[in-house]
């Protein structure tokens, strides 16, 4: 419960932080909210010699709109997401999901950037980012690059980010007017990660699905996008049979790891269940 000794740094600018990352290389870790990193350090699973705190760097937090895009600073906390009026209006999916993350204490400090950068398939934001077609702004020594979420999550705790890069911003296209949404998450208790969770964004005309995005949390080595299920639904009337067929396609791509939340069979079944719940709710929320 006591981390290995480390050096603490508190850079005042992004440039300084990047320079420090370059200087200390593998020995360094960025510190955002600390709610994934510090537990790992206390268990001595992570033993960085240098901790570079991003909290003093200006302008890394906040939610704004730019054209048809929402821009969220990487250091924006879950609590700030929840209370952002802009998000409540334009990306209610993100607000609904953030409310289901951890507990109030964690949500006051934990950041969206940290949640994504950690690369933990148990975290909720990765699946949301896939569902929302987000992209990430990564700042490094050679300037910025923008990586789409679909190319970012490579494996458990393994992302497309280079060790000397810092995520500065999350960019999300605003879904069309009338889009239905839902994040359905099954957990054992407050403060638990998902046993299974499904995110759905849905557009409909009459009874027909004109567009759908489906993301899955904690059901594989990375967050998943259920493209087969999406393809099966798009252009189809959303009948009970169509939803069931899609649920089967959702479950087909699940490769959950067994743990005390349940075995593979249970988690896969729950993926189907969370998807059914999410798409039904999204349908109700659609303006057709």
């Amino acid at each position: 419960m006591i981390p290995k000794p480390f050096e603490y740094h508190s850079p005042q600018s992004l440039g300084d932080a990047v320079a420090m990352l370059q200087q200390y290389g593998d020995e360094a870790k960025l510190l955002a909210g600390g709610h994934s990193l510090l537990p790992m350090m206390k268990l001595r699973f992570a033993m960085p010699s240098h901790l570079i705190d991003l909290n003093r760097i200006p302008d890394l937090a906040g939610v704004s709109e730019s054209g048809n895009e929402i821009r969220i600073g990487a250091m924006t906390t879950e609590n700030q997401l929840i209370w952002s009026e802009l998000l409540q209006r334009k990306l209610p999916l993100l607000v609904e999901a953030a409310r289901l993350i951890a507990d109030p204490q964690v949500r006051y400090r934990g950041t969206i950037g940290g949640d994504i950068a950690h690369g933990d398939p148990g975290n909720d934001h990765p699946a949301l980012m896939l569902t929302l077609d987000a992209s990430f702004v990564l700042a490094g020594a050679n300037g910025e690059r923008v990586v789409p979420a679909s190319e970012f999550f490579l494996g458990t705790y393994y992302t497309a980010m280079n060790p000397d890069e810092i995520m500065t911003q999350i960019r999300i296209p605003v879904p069309p007017q009338g889009t239905g949404w839902c994040y359905a998450k099954l957990k054992r208790k407050t403060g638990d990660f998902a046993a299974a969770a499904a995110a759905v964004l849905l557009q409909m005309k009459g009874d027909t699905c004109t567009g759908v995005a489906i993301g899955l949390t904690n059901l594989g080595p990375t967050a998943l996008r259920a493209s087969d299920a999406e393809a099966a639904l798009t252009g189809q009337p959303l009948t009970a049979d169509a939803i069931e067929a899609a649920a089967q396609k959702v479950m087909a791509i699940c490769e959950p790891a067994a743990d005390l939340r349940g075995d593979e069979t249970y988690k896969t079944a729950m993926a189907g269940e969370m998807f059914r719940k999410a798409i039904r709710t999204a349908m109700e929320r659609c303006t057709r």
Binding site: P5, R44, L186, R188, K189, A195, G262, T265
Partner: protein, 802 residues
């Protein structure tokens, strides 16, 4: 004078028994001004950390402490080798076994204590602990107690090889600890052979952990000059700790001071003596400096005192009308690697023999076998009296099973078997004598409050609808608890009778200080003991200071667990108060120049019978006790009482739970939970309600989620609060409480003890409800915990999950 209003005002000022006086302890806790062991800081204090075994079973080939010792800031690294010359590498347990303080040649459970690193602070100690190099040779692991009894099972306790008797009689296998039998075996067999109906059910009460918010810890400080030892410790039984430390260290008890400061919950986890305490004390003696040791959460959850782990088989014999004729029980009790249960010496299975419950069962026989496995030791009473949760769970599950088999309503079958009011005091077939009870009216009150018939009708409708997404379950539990250990003729710990004590001193100004041998850990003793004294002596509760937990000042007592504080120490409080009142009567008579018999006690004064206005208040009497006592009387106004109860007390209750299960996810929603408790005389209704809420919440935790699972290699799974279920307010159902009052006839104020009943009673009630949700589909029992995952597996097995 003497108007109703005047009486009411004086009664209000007194804040005696029966009023919901606010808790005296809360202002300091709410303001963060509590003083817990980890708040204790002493000059020159060092910090100790345990090096623990990653293996569940392994031989220790070599321990190299040189790197750790060389680490800057390290003062000592202790291993069994260092403790051997002091004969402290092993210590006696409260159950008559021995436990390794630091592993002696082998480890027998994961996270067992191997070495103790003492350094200038906890950070240095943690770093140095990593530098201790231990070479292990892994041995085969046995986790299942049934497999542990196989002829070729690995030997867990090499130190016991060749010993075929333990402290509780014969051992029939190298991993066997004891067999304990009670009841009439032959007669019970005969009744079973002739029975019209029999039922049999296997059930596991899983291994759980009390998980108090504050983990265990101590600060040991040996003063080399004065030769005395002070230990601040998270102990539910500080006096017992003093005696144990005295026995181990050979320091006279007069030179040992044990202080339990504020305790952040105990629930049985803080009764025993742990290796960390011994190591810290030895280190302090060796180094001549105070040494602090505080468990991490993981250490607490995986090394200090688990509870339960009872594999039980129950059988009932009955007639066709559901009248029970006999109960037969077989238990395989998994005690882990060392037998460190905290039970009265005579009872290796605690008070499990209360398992005939609230029912008039004429014949019974119980057999319990204790078994060693490669798990951490314990077997403590987690918010219950010794093994009572297990006993009540068993009988409540069995009567439900019998009801199902016979198609008799579960409330009705209970009523048919209840011990009637006129049968008390009631002798059970297993040798207990229940003091008082009135079971049927309690159950009727609950059935009416919950509209039981309405619930049954709703359930029938749901069951008839194949499309219903939820399954509805109704749980019933009518339990009898046994608390207040206990009569010293039956109950002792390490040979010390389980009496308890109180000492009261009334000061000249009429205020008082009272000290007891118990120790509060959330029960609110400071508040409630003062209420007893107030009613009994007439001194307002607000003028009474109560103090516990410091062996230098408090009278010897056996501590607080098993709901024994009110039944035992509370009786001592009442008796000591009465001694004071009697002396006060003599003084008042002297002051009023009348005979003592001419006086009557009236709330806060003695007054002359039939002479209005002629009275002396307790305040006046207290003053006189220091300057104007009757000739021949000693000055002062104080009393001591050591109370040895004539019997246990037997609180009871009737609980009902209604829940809905989502058959697609296995999630359970508790719709209503109604708890009626009868704890005899009620001292503070608000505190009772708080205790009941807490007990129900911990019962909910155990029933719905708590479990300490192991994998085949003996790794403890789920050793953090991410996996170990401690419900927050979000998960906790809304509780509805109710009561009846059936005083204990043998207790001075008729009180029985309450804080554990809700834990004991709610757990089988939840199982009853969950099983009931499936009972129309042929399910008779489901083992805890009733987590969504496990409930869903039941749905899946029945083909109703999709």
């Amino acid at each position: 004078m003497d108007t109703v209003a005047d009486q009411t005002e004086r009664l209000g000022k007194l804040e005696g028994m029966g009023c919901s006086r606010k808790r005296r302890e809360d202002p300091r806790f709410i303001q963060g001004k509590g003083n817990y062991v980890d708040d204790i800081k002493m000059p020159g204090m060092l910090f100790g950390v345990m090096v623990r075994s990653p293996y569940a079973h392994a031989r220790i080939k070599k321990i190299d402490t040189s790197k750790a010792k060389a680490h800057p800031g390290v003062y000592a690294v202790l291993t069994a080798e260092d403790l051997k010359p002091l004969k402290l590498h092993w210590m006696p347990t409260l159950a008559g076994d021995v436990q390794a303080v630091l592993a002696d040649e082998k480890v027998s459970f994961q996270n067992q204590e191997v070495a103790f690193v003492v350094a200038e602070d906890r950070y240095v100690a943690a770093d140095a602990a990593e530098l201790v190099e231990v070479e292990y040779e892994p041995l085969p692991v046995v986790i299942d107690p049934f497999k542990a009894l196989a002829p070729d099972a690995p030997v867990i306790r090499d130190d016991l090889q060749g010993k075929d008797t333990g402290s509780h009689g014969a051992r029939k296998h190298h991993n066997h600890i004891f067999n304990w039998e009670v009841g009439d075996r032959d007669k019970t067999e005969r009744v079973f052979a002739d029975a019209e109906v029999t039922v049999k059910q296997d059930m596991l009460y899983p291994r759980v952990h009390p998980c108090p918010l504050e983990t265990c810890g101590c600060v040991a400080s040996f003063d080399k000059i004065r030769g005395d030892l002070t230990v601040y410790i998270t102990s539910q039984a500080p006096h017992v700790v003093r005696t144990v430390v005295g026995l181990l260290s050979t320091i006279p008890e007069s030179k040992i001071r044990i202080i339990s400061p504020d305790i952040g919950g105990g629930f049985g986890n803080k009764v025993g003596v742990y290796p960390g305490y011994v190591a810290a004390i030895v280190a302090s003696i060796v180094l001549g400096r105070p040494v602090k040791w505080i468990e991490s959460r993981q250490e607490n959850l995986t090394t200090t005192a688990f509870a339960r782990d009872y594999h039980m088989t129950g059988e009932l014999a009955a007639d066709k009308d559901g009248r029970i004729k006999a109960l037969r029980v077989k238990v395989i009790a998994d005690h882990g690697a060392f037998d460190a249960c905290a039970d009265p010496t005579k009872y290796p299975a605690g008070l499990f023999h209360v398992c005939t419950g609230s029912y008039d069962i004429p014949n019974a026989f119980v057999s319990v076998d204790g078994v060693y496995t490669n798990k951490f030791p314990g077997g403590v009473a987690y918010r219950c009296s010794f093994r009572v949760t297990e006993a009540v769970y068993l009988v409540e599950r069995m009567i439900d099973t019998l009801a199902l088999k016979l198609g008799i309503d579960r409330a009705e079958i209970r009523k048919r078997n209840f011990i009637r009011k006129d049968q008390f005091p009631y002798a059970t077939p297993l040798g207990l004598e229940y003091d008082s009870g009135d079971y049927a009216p309690a159950l009727d009150k609950v059935l009416a409050a919950m509209d039981y018939q309405g619930l049954l009708a709703e359930q029938a409708k749901k069951r008839a609808d194949p499309d219903s997404p939820t399954l509805m379950g109704i749980g019933i539990c009518t339990f009898t608890e046994i608390v207040g250990a206990g009569p010293s003729k039956n109950c002792d710990i390490l040979g010390i009778g389980m009496f308890d004590s109180c000492e009261i001193r009334v000061h000249p100004d009429g205020s008082a200080i009272a000290r007891m041998g118990t120790i509060t850990q959330g029960q609110g003793h400071q508040t409630t003991y003062a209420q007893i004294i107030a009613t009994e002596t007439g001194i307002p509760a607000s003028m009474i200071h109560t103090e516990e937990g410091d062996t230098a000042t408090a009278p010897y007592g056996l501590g607080t667990y098993g709901s024994r504080s009110t039944p035992v120490a509370g009786a001592a409080v009442a008796n000591a108060s009465r001694k004071i009142r009697e002396k006060a009567r003599q003084i008042a008579a002297h002051l009023l120049e009348v005979a003592p018999d001419d006086l009557e006690f009236d709330l806060d004064q003695f007054r002359v019978k039939g002479v209005p206005g002629k009275a002396k208040s307790m305040k006046e009497i207290a003053w006189a006790a220091y300057n104007n006592v009757p000739p021949g009387m000693e000055h002062g106004l104080e009393a001591v009482d050591y109370y040895d109860p004539p019997n246990f007390t037997f609180p009871f209750g009737a609980y009902m739970c209604v829940l809905d299960i989502d058959r697609h996810t296995g999630e359970t929603q508790v719709r209503r939970f109604y708890a009626l408790d009868d704890c005899g005389t009620r001292i503070n209704p608000m505190i009772i309600e708080g205790q009941i809420h807490g007990g129900l919440t911990e019962g909910f935790a155990v029933a719905m989620g708590q479990q300490m699972p192991y994998d085949d290699e003996g790794n403890v799974m789920g050793s953090t609060l991410m996996d170990y279920f401690v419900p927050t307010s979000m998960e906790t159902p809304k509780w509805e409480t109710d009561f009846t009052v059936t005083p204990s006839p043998h207790h001075p104020i008729g009180a029985k003890g309450v804080a554990e009943s809700p834990h004991v009673g709610s757990i089988p009630c939840f199982t009853s409800a969950v099983v009931d949700a499936f009972s129309h589909l042929g399910v008779t029992h489901m083992n805890m915990p009733h987590s969504s995952y496990r409930v869903w597996q039941q749905c899946q097995a029945l083909g109703i999950a999709n």
